[in-house]
Amino acid sequence: MAKSKKEIISIQSVSKIYNLGETVVKALDNVSLSIYDNDYISIMGPSGSGKSTLMNIIGCLDVPTKGKYKFKDELISEMDDNQLANIRNEKIGFVFQTFNLLPKLNAMQNVEVPLIYSSLGRKERIERAEEALHIVGLQDRMTHKPNELSGGQRQRVAIARALVNKPSIILADEPTGNLDSKSGNEILKFFAKLHKDGNTIIMVTHEESVAKLSKRRIDIFDGKIARDE
């Protein structure tokens, strides 16, 4: 861990409690965590451990029930839906296990989606999307629809989409989970390159081999951080 680096995310005593009628589920229980610039973190844990909840909170898709979440200098835990949407749009690049591309749009248009919500003009949108697809090596597949691309290619489109708004962190949820090992390895190599280029990457995975490639590993168990090294 490089403590000298600049702190991007500060999570202090965060709990997330789901009230499901009679039962109360503590998905996260008093978790504190700091994430620094150019970290490459993997978050591990069995299903139901709370790692998805942690991901959702880090990704500003959800707010904690208790505790403070600061992203750079902004207090996320106090934000409303629209403010969260803006943070997601500007600061976070998502990569999902199931790619989550929009099937009706081609690769280029999929990469453009986040830019639609950041009020960019058409010309600039196209330039930025082309640039992002170049980075992931899909400059020849720009007009292909997701169903015309292989799994690995789809995930690369998703990565291009995550990169297109030049986010502060890239949040990847089981990015290799739906890929064969060859494509998976390509994606992981790509993450390593992104990390080397200065990006901050947070990855949720349940595969040891994947976690080993990251620089920092956080294990979640029963809503608590069991290991952070």
Partner: protein, 423 residues
């Protein structure tokens, strides 16, 4: 601003793609709007063509004229007159006309006519027969030409001596000359009406068409001749006269009609308090009746179209809700990537508006085509009721907003985490 343009482009792309995917469903949804809008536009187009020709009719008609008739002059359009029920209404007779003529002081011109419109009589010159149906065959005394604004191109009008003698003389319209005397002047020649020979005494100037009727397919003869040769047989038995009266000017029209009513009631010995057993109408009143007739059609069409548009609107709400359910995952993804509530709300609302406007445009095109086909069939000039095209688009846009509102709000409130997991 960029954001709005982005939505629009994005939404149009989305709508087009969606249409491509669900052609049948979209087509069925659009059909509701299309039918509603096209019926409005079609009927408004037809009414507009009628209004146009009525306007030219008004311009063509003298405003200082009034009529006394047995039947309500606008009854044709409304069916039987309910008010008078089965009460016997006497025909207007030649005697009554002559008495009226003697007693009226405020009327400058007066004519009694009886008209067959159209007429099935055989018109021939030698062996040559007029192929089409005669639009108008009338008997009248001479003043009819002055009051109904035909001008004589060549020849002379019907004169008192013709009436007295029931002479077999005829005035013919320009169409008759074109058809039966293409290369010669008909004046002075003979024409046979139901095999009875007449001498043509005048040819009138071409008048063209009015309300789909060829005004030049016309033959007129003295009223006495008409009564003598055609009055007792065939067409509705004894003819009933229509009286055309001309006041000196617009200013004296009211007094002249009042006088005519008084004198005619006296002739018929109608006791005070009893209603008239005849109709009296000015050209203005005829136009007003026509106007109220078209506006009642408009109200009726408005109601029918309104109901069909509400049904269509429910269809839009339905398709938007279906579309919403099918696209929960998409909404989740868009929200995760930074779409705010208002973004999703506007995306859905714009789609609903686009769908309704698209349906509206198709409806407008169909309605205009249909309306103008009908107009052409009725021999009217084609028109575009711009006002109604504009209203229709406005109605469609409002429908999109009203019926797209609930689905759009529902979509905007979806939670990104749950929506992304939705399959």
């Amino acid at each position: 601003m960029n954001r709005i343009i982005n939505y629009l482009v994005d939404a149009i792309g989305g709508v087009l793609f969606y249409f491509g995917q669900t052609k049948l469903r979209t087509a069925l949804t659009l059909m509701g709007i299309t039918v509603g809008v096209s019926s409005i536009i079609a009927i408004m187009t037809v009414l507009e063509t009628f209004e146009q020709s009525t306007e030219s009719l008004v311009a063509d008609m003298k405003t200082n004229i009034f009529y006394i008739t047995k039947d309500n002059p606008v009854q044709v359009q409304f069916g039987n007159d309910a008010g008078w029920g089965k009460r016997k209404i006497p025909r207007i007779t030649w005697d009554e006309y002559e008495q009226l003529k003697r007693n009226l002081t405020l009327v400058t011109n007066m004519a009694a006519t009886t008209t067959e419109e159209p007429s099935d009589r055989t018109i021939s010159v030698g062996k040559e027969e007029l192929k089409s149906r005669l639009s108008s065959f009338w008997g009248s005394d001479g003043d009819v030409l002055s009051v109904s604004k035909y001008d004589i191109l060549d020849g002379r009008n019907i004169q008192d001596v013709d009436i007295e003698n029931a002479s077999r003389v005829a005035i013919v319209g320009y169409y008759i000359k074109e058809q039966l005397f293409p290369y010669s002047n008909p004046v002075g020649q003979n024409i046979e009406i139901d095999n009875i020979p007449f001498e043509i005494i005048a040819l009138t100037e071409p008048k063209g068409e009015l309300l789909g009727q060829n005004m030049d397919s016309m033959i007129g003869i003295p009223i006495s001749t008409y009564l003598k040769y055609y009055g007792g047989k065939g067409w509705r038995g004894r003819p009933d006269l229509q009286l055309i009266l001309e006041a000196e000017s617009m200013d004296t029209l009211e007094d002249a009609t009042d006088e005519a009513i008084g004198v005619f009631r006296a002739i018929r010995k109608i006791p005070p308090g009893e209603p008239n057993n005849f109709y009296i109408a000015t050209n203005d009143q005829l136009m007003d009746t026509f106007g109220s007739f078209t506006s009642s059609i408009k109200i009726f069409v408005g109601l029918v179209a309104g109901i069909s548009l509400i049904v269509a609107g429910i269809g839009i709400a339905n398709i938007m809700l279906v579309s919403l359910t099918e696209r929960i995952k998409e909404i989740g993804i868009r929200k995760a990537l930074g779409a705010r509530r208002v973004d999703i709300f506007l995306q859905f609302l714009i789609e609903a508006i686009l769908i309704s406007i698209l349906g509206g445009i198709v409806g407008i095109i169909l309605g205009l085509s249909f309306g103008n086909v009908v107009a052409t069939f009725l021999e009217q000039n084609p028109v575009i009721p711009y006002e109604w095209v504009f209203y229709s688009l406005q109605i469609c846009a409002s429908m999109g907003i009203i019926f797209g509102l609930y689905p759009a709000i529902k979509a905007s409130k979806l939670n990104p985490i749950d929506s992304m997991r939705y399959d």
